[in-house]
Symmetry: C2
Subunit: 308 residues, 2 copies
C-alpha cells in the first residue's frame, strides 16, 4: 500500500482529471482532493459529481499547500499553468502532468517551477473518445501503461511517489526519455489519430458519395476510425503542434509505405498485398496477449449493445 | 413472413457463409440447406457445427436442384464458382453472392450463368475480424445494410426473393448500381482497410520503436486499427485487385487531404487542425444515430471485458 498523498491538487477536471479524482477516491490514494478548472460550469459539474473535497477556479489557490499537483490540460496549456502555480508551491511539492507529448511539456513547465519543487512528467496511455468531468471513471487507467519521463537528476523519492500513485490507480508504469516517448507515441497514438481525422474529413467532403451513405454503410470499416476522430479537438491540435518533428517523421514512413501499396494495387501485385495483410494479424494477437485489447470480435460491440 | 426457400445452397462456409447458415436456420428461412466448401477440414468443421442438412466438397453437386445459391467466397473466386455451377442450375434458380465489390463480380459471373437462371448480386455490409465457420453467428447481419446491385432487366420476383431473404436475416436492404456501390464501399470500407493494414505494417517495420513497445502502448489509438488489419488476407487482396479504380480514386483524395494536414502541422497552423478535428465529431454522431455504431465509450470494450 503506497503512502497516502496528504493533499492532491487536480488542475483540470476533464476526462483524465476526473478519472484520476475518482480513482484516487476509490482506491484511497489521497486524504484530500482539491479540484480546479477554469470554467465555472465545469467546476459546478465536478462539484455535483462529488469529485473533490474543495473546488476553486484558481490554479494557484488549488496548488498552494498541495503535496502532489497533477495538471490535466491540453499540451499547449502547461506553461501557463506552471507560471501560475510556480510561486505558491510549497517546499518539496511534486508537480506532474498527463500530457501526450513530453519534451515540449518539459520545456514549457521547467522554467516556471521553483528549485524546491519536483517535476515528474507522466503520460497515462488511456482515454476514451468522450470529454469532460462526466466522462471519467475510476478504472480508466487499470491495466493501461503510464509512462514517466523524469529529466536527469529527478528526486528519487518524488519519482517513487508518482510511480506509486499510478500503480495505485491500477496502471503499469514504465520509464523512458521524453524524446523516446514522443517517438513511440507518434506511431502508437498521434499518427493514428491524424489519419483517422483525415479519412473522416475526406469522406465528409466527397461529392460522389453522400454523407448519409457514408453513415449508413460505415459498418464496413469506416466507423472504427470515427471513434478516435471524435476525440477532443483542442487536445489533439496541441499534440500535433507540440510533437511536430516525431509526427512528421512517422507520417513520412506511413506515406512511403502507402505509396508502395498504392503502386501494388495499380499494377495488380497481389502477392505484395497478401504478404502485408498476412503479417499484420500477428501484431493484433500480440496486443491482445499484452492485455491491451479485447479478443472479442468487433471490440465486443455486440456485448456492449446487449448491456445497454 | 417471406416464403421459405425450398433448397438453399451455400458455396463457401467461412464467417459470412456460416452466419447465413445459422441465420437461415434460426429464422426459418430455408427448408433445406446444402453446405459446400473446398477444403475437407472446413467441411468437417461445418458438419460438426451442424450448419446444414447436407455437406459436399463439390459446388456443382451443392447447386444442383437448389432454388437459391449464395456463394460466399473471395471476390476473385466468383468466376470459377459460376463456371462450375452454371451447367447444373435448374430453371428459375436464383444465384447470389456476398462480394464486397460488385462490378467485377458481375463481370466474372454473368458469362457462365444460363439464361434460365437469375443473378441477384448482393453485399451484406457486416463482418468481424475473424474468419472461418466457427466465427459466424446468426445475428451478424441484424440491423446492418445489405446492398443489392441488380443489373438492368433483373427478374422482379428473383429480386424480391433475395430482398426478403436478407430482411429475414434482420438486414436493411438498399438497391443501387454496381458502379455506385463500388465507389461508396471504396471510401467506407476498402480505403479504411488499406490504411489500417498500412499503418500496422509501418509500425512493425520501425527501427526506432520496438514491436514490443508498439504492442504495450497500443491503447493510445493504434490498437483500433489492428482490428480491421486482422481481417482475412485473401479476401482483402482480392478486393483491392477487383476495385482498383474506385480505391485509387478515393486514396488520391485521402492523400491530398493528408498532405494538407501535414503542411498544417509543419507550419503550425493550429486553426486548420482544429477546424477539421472539430467537424469530424458530427460524422460519428450521425453513424450512432443511424444505428450503425454503439455510443458506448471505447466501443464498449469495458463491457466486453466484463462479460468474458
Amino acid at each position: 500500500m503506497p503512502e497516502k498523498i496528504k493533499r492532491l491538487a487536480l488542475i483540470g477536471i476533464g476526462l483524465i482529471g476526473s478519472s484520476i479524482a475518482r480513482g484516487a477516491c476509490e482506491y484511497g490514494l489521497a486524504e484530500e482532493i482539491v479540484v480546479q478548472t477554469r470554467r465555472p460550469e465545469t467546476l459546478e459539474a465536478a462539484e455535483r459529481l462529488g469529485l473533490g473535497d474543495r473546488y476553486t477556479l484558481s490554479a494557484a489557490e488549488a496548488a498552494e499547500g498541495a503535496d502532489l499537483v497533477i495538471a490535466s490540460v491540453p499540451v499547449g496549456a502547461y506553461g501557463a499553468v506552471a507560471e501560475e502555480i510556480g510561486p505558491v508551491l510549497k517546499p518539496g511539492a511534486i508537480v506532474s502532468d498527463v500530457g501526450s507529448v513530453k519534451a515540449a511539456v518539459i520545456r514549457q513547465v521547467t522554467p516556471f517551477l521553483p528549485e524546491h519543487a519536483h517535476f515528474v512528467p507522466a503520460h497515462p496511455v488511456a482515454g476514451t473518445e468522450y470529454s469532460g468531468p462526466e466522462a471519467g471513471f475510476a478504472d480508466l487507467f487499470r491495466s493501461r501503461w503510464c509512462i514517466l519521463t523524469p529529466p536527469e537528476g529527478t528526486d528519487a523519492a518524488a519519482l517513487a511517489s508518482v510511480r506509486a500513485f499510478w500503480e495505485g490507480l491500477g496502471s503499469n508504469v514504465e520509464t523512458m526519455t521524453p524524446e523516446h516517448h514522443d517517438m513511440v507515441l507518434a506511431i502508437t497514438s498521434h499518427v493514428p489519430h491524424l489519419i483517422a481525422y483525415n479519412i473522416v474529413g475526406t469522406a465528409a467532403d466527397l461529392e460522389a458519395v453522400t454523407e448519409s451513405e457514408v453513415m449508413k454503410f460505415a459498418a464496413g470499416g469506416f466507423r472504427d476510425f470515427t471513434r478516435i476522430a471524435a476525440s477532443d479537438p483542442t487536445m489533439w491540435r496541441d499534440v500535433f503542434l507540440n510533437n511536430k518533428e516525431a509526427v512528421l517523421e512517422m507520417l513520412g514512413r506511413f506515406n512511403e509505405d502507402l505509396s508502395a501499396l498504392q503502386r501494388a494495387i495499380r499494377w495488380g501485385d497481389g502477392d505484395a498485398l497478401f504478404e502485408l495483410f498476412n503479417r499484420t494479424r500477428a501484431i493484433r494477437r500480440g496486443i491482445i496477449a499484452a492485455g491491451q485489447e479485447t479478443a472479442e470480435p468487433d471490440f465486443g460491440r455486440a456485448a456492449a449493445a446487449k448491456t445497454v
